[in-house]
Symmetry: D3
Subunit: 138 residues, 6 copies
């Protein structure tokens, strides 16, 4: 068993807020992250998959395939987008780093499995000082 | 003459577009950067000032002062903000990296001079692959 | 269960030595790190906490709270300090990266628990080539 | 139990291919990595060892010793080398990041044990977007 | 006048040597860089162009255009290649960082000019410790 | 004319203060940097030299030579040292980043010239947020 990681990047706007609360109340809870006019980030995703090394190919999974899976299921949907408004797989979800990481996991788990590897970890970096790691729901 | 640089960071949403054009036309010109729902970045600003070393203090300018000048005149106004909607010193300006760098220069030139140093360069980093440097308008 | 990490930084002087040994003997064991006149580092601390996502807030723990806990219990006590002389929670401890990481764990475990999350890992980076990870004492 | 990591670097040429296949077939499978004239990387190795803190020394293992073990058993053999042609411990091995990481593990496991620590992880970084982690063969 | 920089990356094999000298002599002069079996790097190119801001577009030059110019004239020709054997614009050139930077300048100067900007600097990073900057030949 | 840069690193303790002032006064002026028990940094030095490319060698100056010059004249004297107490070429100098950069320039200018290149810039990085650049005294 060995672990291989691919990094991808996207830039997006977002906002933390609960729609049933006032702007003032949201600011009290979420600080500047509640700005009704949005703010944004350069996000980095580190997708780690695990598996055995295919002896004929030398790798767990072709990184070009992994990169393409991430592109089709995540990057194309979130890059240069508003995470709260534009992304089908984030509809109705508060766009905290935690929740976005979990939603990315749900996007990638199956297609990675279909290529013979197992999704191990989604690491989502929001700023140089903050990141989240998710290893699946169990 | 010696040069000293202070890095500060902010996160913001923005959009590239010309208001007199349709969304389709803006997308044709600016690509994903024209998304009407905004996108965003973790920006880094590198502010370089120059001057002679004060022999009693050992430095061109107290970095705590420089940091405070940047905070009051730039960071507090742009961090967790929408560059197109929320920022007084960017009103009516297309928020390209170039234009934001020039506007930051204009914010900082005078207060730095009042502290006895000379603003030399604003470097504004938008992503790990793109940045702008501005040395003043002459 | 999800993991969220906050990075903080501090700069400090320190020295590796055993007080019962001569300077020559300490240099033999600890090399340049035994310099009686001290040396120093820009340290980075990565504090990882784990927990379930609070459905109303979208996060395991408010990062502003986590940052404040680290500041009050660690950063304010070690930043611009001598780890051997100035720090209450390092008294009598040899200031190796390992021991400092364990001492930081002991400072943070309880206050993080009081905010409803579980401390998972202290990663202490001493130089770009050396770091320690501690997951608790059991 | 605590974990300490040492980073070392080397630059090398390599190529992914199966000798029994044609160049065209290898290119189909491995893309640009199959270039018969080679390509290359600045590799980073992160070697993580675990153990208890020696109370007299303050560390799990002297990092100068760890660095020397990596140098003698890995760096001196791969730095400024061709991984396919020049390296005794890679003879007959397809030089994918996975396989090189496993081979480095095999080089380091015993000498680290002889210094009283346990090898925990080899992380091999091939580019800023790709890396492998190996925790041993069981 | 403002300066904008685009970073691109490529991985390549190369070797420093003078064909009229023996391997032993080349090793004496160039050290490990003379290895007849090649070694390699992850290179980074920073291409800086200067010009005035186009008031309708907000930028000196469309970064998508700049990126495409670099891709067609440099990256596609050097990525996953052997700099000594595979690259038309490096034929007969000793592939030191200096010479490769100058050759990249010569590839990019004209096409950038044709897009209305002026090439200002090629910065070529060979390792995290070594880089070259070239501002043109005069 | 082309510019080549070598990065070296050192770790050191230091303190900002004027010996004729009280500790309280020094703290007022220099903040935490005046701590009488010292603090410290992982410093990075970027030494840039300029010259013409030697057509037989492909470079301005052999980087092994440049690295050795820096080692002998700077790194060996400051690494794991106290900048205020241990360093001959900093005696009587307030150890601000500015002054240390100038002193490093003075150490390196002549030996680099003796190897046929011209020292162009000393960049001294004190933290990820602060650095100084010095281009010589005129």
């Amino acid at each position: 068993m060995i672990y291989i990681t691919r990094r991808e990047r996207f830039t997006a706007a977002h906002r933390l807020f609960r729609p049933e609360l006032s702007n003032a109340k949201n600011t009290e809870i979420f600080g500047g992250c509640a700005n009704p006019n949005w703010h944004g980030h350069n996000y980095e995703i580190f997708v780690t998959v695990k598996g055995n090394v295919n002896p004929e190919l030398g790798y767990v999974m072709n990184l070009r395939d992994l990169s393409k899976i991430i592109e089709e299921n995540v990057s194309d949907k979130v890059d240069h987008k508003n995470l709260n408004l534009d992304v089908d797989f984030l509809k109705g979800i508060m766009t905290s780093t935690e929740n976005v990481a979990i939603a990315i996991w749900n996007q990638l788990e199956k297609p990675i499995q279909e290529h013979g590897a197992i999704l191990h970890c989604i690491k989502l970096v929001e700023t140089e000082n903050n990141f989240v790691e998710y290893y699946g729901g169990k």
